[in-house]
């Protein structure tokens, strides 16, 4: 942890902070660079939404600051929505609950996602990685997102939850609609979002009924939640459905953007990919550096429900706070020369998975997927090249490449 004296918060107010135009073309093209450059000037920035925390020390402290809240249904209320299926799900799922209630829900699922449990899934995950990578077409252009970055995470989280393999496609479509719940697209997409939630709830309820009536519980998370209920845990049917929806969605875009973002980095630096082909044991370390360097969760939101004094700096009640993972991870306090990829870099305290009680419950699973990918793909496809220009989602919240046109050859093509 950095010492308290590493961060000096100068006097002043939000008005004195440098402004970042999050909707500019320049920001869309080079978000991490702009965040890095602004952080060299100030610990935080001003945006059209509120304040954005750039310093690694401040980010860690504010993540753990229990005076702050998730924005939760504030976004809904701002758009005149005070009830309904989407409102209820958003208000009551685990990410938006605090204290003892949050802990109760979290502990019901944390076992299935613990680093030790994930170590137990590795064999199956490696099979999924192997199958997918062998299905990629050699010596012809293809989209890495469509053929690998999307299918791997949904297969992994789907089987962990206990969703039948032939239903994962349908669940993914519902999930795509539900994730329209972000602030920018909420109101106009409310019917789609609510339909997605209702359909997923209904199907999860049916899958639970099937388990209960057959009496056959497996090793999947849905079965474990039912066992917990039987064992006397206070866990309602709504809570089970809500957890399944949250976890399925949580394991999709985040991981697929991290995978596709990683691939664009390697396509720009194919010599690093070739090194991995000869050093699969470096996969763990390289995956970690990729998480630090290009976090798919580029920012995370908080909200000040009351006036907050942060190290003498006033944050008024009602302020939206973005905690910039992108800026904090490149902070020298986190990583020396953080703007550079260093695949030999020792572990850092990056905040890609957050901090505090809501630290990403799927972190070990995500890490395993990235590591398994980096252990397997480079040796199978040692020579990679671009076959066009990538297309990126806007650099807000969860972001990354949505289209990665590439090709590979199984030849090493020259000196190794």
């Amino acid at each position: 942890m950095t010492a308290a004296s590493d961060l000096t918060v100068p006097g002043g107010t939000i008005a004195d902070l440098p402004y970042i135009d999050l909707e500019s073309e320049q920001f869309a093209a080079t978000p991490y660079e702009i965040l890095d450059e602004t952080r060299n000037r100030a610990w935080a920035a001003r945006t059209h939404m509120g304040i954005m925390i750039l310093s690694h020390t401040a980010a860690q402290e504010l993540y753990a600051d229990t005076r702050l809240r998730q924005p939760g249904v504030e976004t809904f209320k701002l758009q005149g929505i005070y009830s309904g299926v989407a409102y209820d799900w958003w208000a009551n799922h685990m990410l938006h609950i605090e204290g003892a209630e949050h802990k109760r829900l979290r502990r019901l699922v944390s076992g299935a996602f613990s680093a030790k449990a994930v170590a137990g899934y590795l064999e199956q995950m490696n099979r999924q990685v192997d199958e997918l990578s062998r299905s990629l077409p050699a010596d012809e252009p293809f989209d890495f997102v469509e053929h690998y970055a999307h299918p791997l995470p949904r297969g992994v989280v789907g089987s962990l939850l206990g969703i039948p393999a032939d239903e994962i496609h349908q669940f993914t479509q519902w999930a795509g609609d539900i994730t329209l719940v972000g602030p920018a697209r909420l109101k106009e997409n409310l019917p789609l979002i609510e339909n997605g939630i209702t359909c997923m709830y209904n199907r999860v309820r049916e899958l639970i009924e099937e388990r209960l009536s057959s009496g056959e519980l497996g090793e999947d998370l849905m079965s474990n939640l039912l066992r917990a209920q039987e064992g006397g845990e206070r866990l309602s049917a709504e809570e089970v459905q809500s957890l399944v929806v949250l976890i399925f969605i949580g394991g999709l875009d985040t991981t697929s953007f991290q995978l596709s973002g990683m691939m664009t980095t390697f396509l720009d630096r194919p010599e690093l990919w070739r090194r991995l082909a000869t050093q699969p044991e470096a996969a763990h370390r390289v995956a970690e550096e990729m998480l630090r360097y290009k976090p798919a969760i580029i920012e995370n939101y908080r909200f000040a429900p009351v006036d907050i004094d942060y190290r003498g700096f006033p944050i008024p009640a009602g302020t939206y706070i973005s905690i910039s993972t992108g800026a904090a991870n490149w902070d020298p306090a986190c990583a020396v020369d953080g703007h550079e990829i260093d695949i030999d870099r020792p572990p850092t305290a990056h905040i890609t998975f957050g901090k505090g009680a809501h630290f990403c419950v799927g972190a070990a699973l995500a890490r395993a997927e990235l590591e398994a990918t980096l252990q397997t793909l480079p040796a199978l496809m040692p020579t990679i090249r671009w076959e066009g220009s990538p297309r990126y989602r806007a650099p807000r919240s969860t972001t990354g490449p949505e289209y990665v046109p590439m090709s590979f050859s199984r030849e090493t093509g020259g000196a190794q």
Binding site: A64, S110, F113, S114, P347, A363
Partner: protein, 66 residues
């Protein structure tokens, strides 16, 4: 110099970073919650323990110089 290791299981969110960094010092129960195995360490183990403490998302692990 020895390091005294303090673990507050109540704060633990089950990330398992401590187990990854130092499985000889930290185990995980069925809920993924930390089980401390040792309450002190020597100099050669300092780096791994500092990493376990730094990467713990909730400050569950506190190290005290003795």
């Amino acid at each position: 110099m020895t390091l005294r290791i303090h673990v507050d299981r109540d704060l633990c969110c089950g990330s398992g970073r401590c187990w990854s960094a130092a499985p000889d010092f930290f185990d995980l129960d069925d809920e993924g919650i930390v089980i401390p195995l040792r309450d002190h360490a020597g100099d050669p183990e300092r780096e791994r323990l500092n990493r376990a403490a730094a990467e713990c998302p909730t400050g569950t692990i506190q190290l005290e110089e003795q």
